[in-house]
């Protein structure tokens, strides 16, 4: 593995700590050289950026990114008073409430299913995992232009026709009932479920087989009982991690909304499917209002933090389940 090169005698032999600082210097130099690029990059693109953004959010910064025109909390007030922004927050909340449990259940279900397969497990695992390779832009493209396209030869419409529904349905364009919602939820479901299935599958495979044997001895016979009393409680940590990742990702939805609902994003179309990030994108890059854009970024960040903390509380309540599983 590693070379056992002959030890080269160092000039002057090993000098043992003459002056304390002099002996520490090589360590310091190496530490600085190795950490400096990372520290400098994070300083610039995280700390300076966020600090600057925070200051900008208290400025009237339209068409400029320099500070100087302070306007207190006006940007925050403007945003929270703008129905389009608050609607975008409602949109993303509803979306999160939909997509998180649905992805969670499907990913867990597929993991249990794949784990039960004897032969061919790798093929099915790959099948469910491979959509992760596809970008949200391409997913949106297939969903909008083929799977749920508004023409009679779209897949969903062809299926509907087979089921005896003869009218052509405009999936993306239909707001009442909100059919475009099906398009948005299913595309993300397809793109992200495999990733979380992999996490659940790894969690399931780490559960010791003796636990299942012990449970059978104790009288658990059906698959459901084994799942309920062993698998589920043993997966608690994975479940918490998955839920957290799902929430954080859902809150930052942008790509598929932007690409599927493009014609409605001005708020003029029938479905105002703007997410907070799309609203902020339009504010900062369309109107060049960097003050309001920054303020919005902090509102969204605060919401994500609150949501993840809430989730932590809920996960805390489930703790008894873990003890039950031991």
């Amino acid at each position: 593995m590693t070379t056992a090169a002959p030890a080269r005698p160092r000039a002057g032999g090993p000098h043992r700590a003459p002056a304390r600082w002099a002996s520490r210097w090589p360590a310091w130099r190496a530490f600085l050289l190795l950490t400096l690029p990372m520290v400098a990059g994070l300083l610039l693109f995280k700390y300076v950026a966020i600090g600057w953004g925070l200051l900008l959010s208290f400025n009237d910064a339209r068409g400029t990114i320099s500070l100087g025109s302070w306007n207190g909390l006006d940007n925050y007030r403007r945003l929270l008073g703008d129905p389009a922004f608050t609607r975008s927050l409602v949109t993303i909340l509803v979306f999160t409430l939909f997509i998180v449990p649905v992805t969670f259940a499907l990913a867990l279900g597929l993991a249990v299913l794949v784990n039960r397969l004897r032969g061919g497990r790798a093929i099915f695992r790959t099948t469910f995992f491979i959509p992760t390779a596809v970008s949200y832009v391409v997913g949106a493209l297939v969903w909008k232009m083929s799977l749920f396209s508004g023409t009679p030869s779209g897949v969903a419409n062809s299926l509907a026709y087979l089921l005896g529904y003869e009218d052509t349905i405009g999936w993306v364009a239909t707001v009442d009932p909100p059919l475009y919602w099906i398009v948005l939820v299913t595309v993300r479901l397809w793109l992200q479920t495999g990733l979380y299935m992999i996490l659940f599958l790894a969690g399931i495979q780490q559960i010791p087989a003796q636990l299942y044997e012990a449970a059978r001895v104790d009288g658990a016979h059906t698959e459901w009982q084994l799942f309920r009393h062993i698998t589920w409680p043993m997966l608690r940590n994975t479940s918490v991690a998955v839920t957290l990742l799902l929430i954080i990702n859902a809150f930052q939805a942008f790509d598929e909304f932007y690409n599927i609902l493009a014609s409605n994003l001005s708020g003029l179309g029938s479905a105002d499917g703007r997410t907070p990030l799309i609203y902020l994108f339009q504010t900062a890059l369309g109107e060049q209002n960097y003050g309001a854009g920054s303020a919005g970024a902090f509102i969204v960040t605060a919401l994500i933090v609150v949501f993840t903390l809430l989730q932590g509380r809920f996960a805390g309540f489930g703790r008894t389940g873990e003890e039950e599983g031991r």
Partner: protein, 273 residues
């Protein structure tokens, strides 16, 4: 028992169909003619395979697809190894070099993990824009090079790195930099590959940041180019799907070849929560 397995396989197949359907659609649509794809009737497969969609996709001067593919390749091929290397360097220093600054620097780095990435795209745009990074390659690449989370993973890995190996290196006269470059880095190939591949995927598929910073068509990535195609007034459907097919091929191939590393990376990253 037999029955149970049959049921599982049946269920797996039923679920597999919708997961594979979009890939089939991509291929079928890319190989159809505009007339066929525009027809009102469902058609399983093109009557005659047409590559006109690919020709149209690459021949469209308004949306320079070849250039966009080149940009994406460049961005992902530079970002993936570089971001992983930077994380590995910092991770090693934090794990193995005993200096007083180690703890504060560690907290300085991991504190950035608490801020969700996409919510900071406007502040980052402000900084990169003020430095003249709009419509530049470095503007597209630089902000994505610094992953505190990867530092955390490498630090964990190097903390478990065998001391004896380092002691042997020290006897050979290696300093800290030598120990890192000759021993630690060459022995972290598996983690390096896993995180590097994940980083490649992430940068290839990124949309929001390239959309924000690469506004000039010359700096469009493949995702931005596809999005532009998608949202045009009169969409050339076969060309749209042909472009999308070309855009996903490198990553699908990567998934099929290097799935082991990708799964490893996903599992490491999933522990995050």
């Amino acid at each position: 028992m037999r029955k149970r397995h049959l049921g599982s396989y049946a269920a797996a197949v039923v679920f597999a169909v919708p997961f594979l359907l979009p890939f089939y659609l991509l291929i079928r649509n890319a190989l159809m003619t505009r007339r066929e794809l525009g027809s009102l009737d469902w058609q399983w497969w093109p009557e005659e395979i047409s590559f006109q969609g690919f020709a149209d996709a690459f021949g469209n001067e308004a949306v320079p697809l070849a250039n966009a593919l080149w940009n994406s390749t460049l961005i992902a091929a530079i970002s993936a190894p570089l971001s992983t290397l930077l994380a590995s360097m910092a991770g090693y220093a934090l794990a193995r070099i005993p200096v007083a600054a180690s703890k504060p620097v560690f907290y300085f780095i991991i504190a950035t993990m608490m801020v969700p990435g996409a919510a900071t795209f406007i502040p980052t745009f402000v900084v990169v824009g003020s430095m003249g990074g709009v419509n530049t390659l470095w503007g597209l690449i630089a902000p994505g090079l610094f992953s505190a989370f990867a530092v955390l993973l490498f630090r964990g890995f190097y903390l478990r790195f065998p001391r004896e190996l380092e002691d042997a290196g020290r006897v050979d006269g290696l300093g800290f930099l030598g120990l890192y470059a000759r021993l630690a880095l060459p022995n972290s190939g598996a983690l390096f590959a896993s995180l590097g591949i994940l980083s490649f995927i992430e940068h290839w598929n990124a949309f929001l940041w390239p959309l924000v910073i690469g506004q000039d068509p010359e700096y469009w990535t493949v995702q931005v180019a596809l999005s532009t195609n998608l949202n045009q007034q009169a969409v050339n459907l076969p060309a749209l799907f042909a472009g999308a097919l070309v855009a996903i091929l490198p990553l699908v191939a990567l998934f099929l070849i290097a799935q082991r590393w990708i799964v490893r990376g996903v599992l490491l990253s999933g522990i995050k929560g």
